[in-house]
């Protein structure tokens, strides 16, 4: 094995290369484009045996990936943010075709207003589509998760497409040491794609996922897809056991840090969770029993495991890098659902933080722990909180003042 410095985007490209993908439909978008550029360069130099085709939109790109998987080839693609939304009609559609392939999403905030920086509302928009979702916290995990995602997606009990998610900038453009699997070991793990009955050929018309009238057949197809996604929970265990045997790295569906005796727990997805690890270390040094729980697998959502892990804890601070307008943090809602009715369920605190790449610093993690403890001690529930400082509002006010002054001037004239 060779350990080298790779950006998250390069690690994603390596994941696809090691998975020996055959076909890559592509469309550029910041901060994802480097993935496709790396793959294109390898194919151009003859270092990778695959076909890369640039499509005219993400809508076509996702269609092409699903269609290719239906013809029996292993497909890979990548997008981000507005691109994922532009292709959203086909995200749902190809999942209904039950075609397994892997798409990387590099998380970036959605318009409007527009930003290039990381935020999870894009990936949350694909939450209910049928795509499996694996969320990564490090560059190492990106390369490894793509291999795991193919196995999971292609498993006979699952056969659904999968998204591997990584955060823009915080991972996409950040180099970290990555232990790249050697090609033969990767091949031993990944095996060949068995498309089963998905054998579409141009000269032999077939159809799949036809129009169904009346709710009965429709309900059947939709619920079967739901059950298939749920199968991925047990399949995930088998596959990650095998992964560990071959590569020596273990990827639990929920990554736990210092959870054995933790009373106060941080919950968050993606790369910001490594910051929470530092906070847990610092809090422990200051006498706290703090821990971290990070779902890697977000779809299917490991509800039972979450109940087991959080029963009897004092309080949990759930930090959502997304916001569902009119409701709040998506992860918070899902945890509340998972824990409903559980005896000795912990108190839940909902924090919205990291929107549009807004950093979360160590002091904020400490202050969240303080709030959780106060709430536990007083027995009072915690109102949801946006991580936002006076200084940030002051800066915002300066911008508003410029616009308001101009506004007044125009209306006077």
């Amino acid at each position: 094995m060779t350990r080298k410095l790779l950006t998250g985007n390069s690690a994603a490209a390596w994941g696809a290369r090691l998975a020996r993908v055959d076909y890559i439909p592509a469309f550029p978008i910041t901060p994802q484009t480097e993935i496709i550029e790396d793959l294109a360069a390898w194919i151009d130099r003859g270092e990778m045996d695959a076909r890369l085709v640039t499509l005219e939109s993400e809508h076509s790109m996702i269609t092409a990936a699903g269609a290719a998987a239906s013809s029996g080839v292993r497909a890979f693609t990548a997008t981000s943010s507005q691109g994922l939304l532009y292709g959203m009609e086909m995200v749902y559609t190809v999942a209904g075709w039950r075609t397994p392939f892997v798409m990387v999403n590099v998380s970036r905030g959605l318009a409007s207003p527009i930003t290039l920086e990381s935020d999870h509302n894009d990936i949350m928009a694909a939450r209910d589509s049928g795509f499996l979702q694996i969320h990564c916290a490090t560059c190492q995990e990106i390369a490894d998760s793509i291999l795991i995602a193919y196995r999971l997606a292609e498993h006979a009990d699952v056969r659904m497409p999968a998204i591997v998610n990584l955060d823009g900038f915080y991972l996409s453009f950040t180099r970290e040491p990555v232990d790249l699997a050697n090609a033969s070991k990767a091949q031993a793990f990944i095996g060949d794609y068995d498309p089963e009955n998905l054998q579409f050929r141009g000269n032999s018309p077939l159809s799949q996922a036809m129009a169904v009238l009346g709710g009965g057949p429709y309900s059947y197809f939709r619920y079967e897809a739901h059950l298939a996604v749920q199968q991925a929970l047990s399949v995930y265990e088998e596959i990650t056991d095998e992964f560990e045997d071959i590569f020596g790295r273990r990827y639990e569906m929920i990554d736990c840090y210092q959870m054995d005796d933790a009373e106060y727990v941080f919950v968050l997805l993606g790369s910001f969770s490594t910051k929470a690890r530092d906070a847990v270390d610092s809090l422990r040094a200051a006498g706290w029993k703090a821990g971290l729980l990070r779902p890697r697998l977000f779809r299917p959502f490991p509800q039972q495991r979450i109940r087991q892990l959080l029963q009897g804890r004092r309080a949990v601070g759930i930090i959502d890098q997304n916001i569902s307008m009119g409701m709040g943090g998506v992860l918070h809602s899902e945890f509340a659902t998972a824990l409903y009715g559980l005896k000795d369920a912990p108190l839940l605190g909902s924090y919205i933080g990291g929107l549009g790449g807004r950093d979360i610093n160590q002091r904020e993690f400490f202050a969240i722990a303080d709030e959780l403890k106060q709430a536990y001690d007083s027995g009072e529930s915690l109102p949801p909180r946006l991580l936002y400082t006076q200084n940030e509002l002051t800066e915002m006010r300066k911008l508003q003042a410029i616009a308001q002054a101009e506004h007044a001037e125009i209306h006077q004239a």
């Binding site: 410095l5 950006t7 900038f169 915080y170 453009f173 950040t174 180099r175 970290e176 040491p177 790369s271 910001f272 490594t274 910051k275 690890r277 530092d278 906070a279 270390d281 610092s282 809090l283 040094a285 200051a286 006498g287 706290w288 950093d359 610093n361 160590q362 002091r363 904020e364 400490f366 202050a367 722990a369 303080d370 909180r385 946006l386 991580l387 936002y388 400082t389 006076q390 200084n391 509002l393 300066k398 911008l399 508003q400 410029i402 616009a403 308001q404 101009e406 506004h407 125009i410």
Partner: protein, 311 residues
């Protein structure tokens, strides 16, 4: 952990500097994280890149808010708030500025607690975005200041990161960078690592409840010109177009139309005028002006002249 930031302008090689230093740390047995922040993604605009290096796994992410070392490749960025070169700089921080001015001049000028060193500016370029070898020089100086990267390891990292360039260019970079490395060795070890913040004594974040404000306030309609009041894109300029009105024929519709940033206005007397707050220095007007009445001069020289005139 070592926390190091490189500040420069697009084109000066700050991403490359961070990668050379990152690779050098990695080859010296450190865990590493390096990343660029592309900013406006444009030549001449402020850009920075950062490197973290530690003997154990690095969990910290994002922009370095408390740097041990800040390397500034272009001293014209120091007074520019948007460049953020002094973010989180305190008495622990070493500030290394590539400048014709001495470190004592910068100490007086900045009046901050940081340890200030000057990277003696060498040959200059008319267009600062093409400052030669500055990325390699900055990386070498930073490596020497940490005192944990052996000379040969630095060279190996430089070869790895510049490997795609022509051999002669790589060797020139190596020789110039090593000159800097050797020169900075007298300050070896000046840059010290720092630890994690403490959870037992910390300043609480001044969180607020964001109040509801109706759309007339929370989603103000913004007149076109106002969107760039705070974004003085003129600061990205490394070459300045200057109109010689003696030769200007007053066909202002040409230069003002060709200007891609709408930064050439037409005065009431019909002659053009350049808005230097927003001119990015692309020099299209210089190329298009029929009577060749617009010339380009290096921005840093123009500014030095202005400073001299006002002094």
């Amino acid at each position: 952990m070592f926390r190091i930031r490189f500040h420069g302008r697009g084109g000066q090689g700050m991403k490359t500097a961070s990668r050379i230093l990152g690779t050098a740390f990695f080859k010296a047995g450190y865990e590493v994280q390096d990343a660029p922040r592309y900013g406006a993604e444009r030549r001449g605009a402020p850009i920075f890149a950062y490197v973290r290096a530690d003997k154990s796994t690095i969990n910290e992410r994002g922009v370095i808010s408390h740097p041990d070392l800040v390397v500034i490749a272009d001293d014209t960025l120091v007074g520019m708030p948007a460049a953020g070169v002094t973010l989180g700089v305190d008495a622990h921080t070493v500030l290394l500025i590539n400048s014709h001015e001495s470190s004592s001049t910068w100490r007086q000028r900045l009046n901050i607690d940081a340890v200030i060193l000057a990277l003696a500016a060498r040959e200059d370029a008319a267009d600062r975005a093409t400052l030669p070898f500055i990325g390699s020089r900055c990386a070498a100086a930073a490596a020497a200041l940490t005192n944990v990267i052996p000379r040969d390891v630095f060279v190996a990292a430089l070869y790895e990161e510049l490997g795609h360039l022509h051999e002669d260019i790589i060797n020139q970079n190596r020789d110039i960078a090593l000159g800097e490395f050797d020169d900075m060795t007298r300050h070896a070890g000046l840059v010290k690592q720092s630890g994690l913040p403490s959870a037992s004594e910390y300043v609480k974040p001044d969180w607020i409840e964001l109040p509801f404000e109706n759309a007339e306030i929370s989603n103000l309609a913004i007149h076109a010109g106002v969107t760039s009041v705070e974004v003085r894109t003129g600061l990205w300029r490394t070459m300045r177009p200057v109109i010689n009105y003696d030769n200007c024929s007053g066909c202002a519709w040409i230069c003002s139309t060709y200007c891609p940033d709408g930064a050439i206005n037409v005065r009431t007397d019909g002659y053009p005028e350049i808005d230097y707050d927003h001119c990015k220095g692309c020099l299209i007007c210089v190329a298009q002006c029929p009577p060749h009445a617009i010339e380009s001069i290096p921005e840093h020289i123009a500014r030095a002249q202005e400073a001299g005139e006002t002094a």
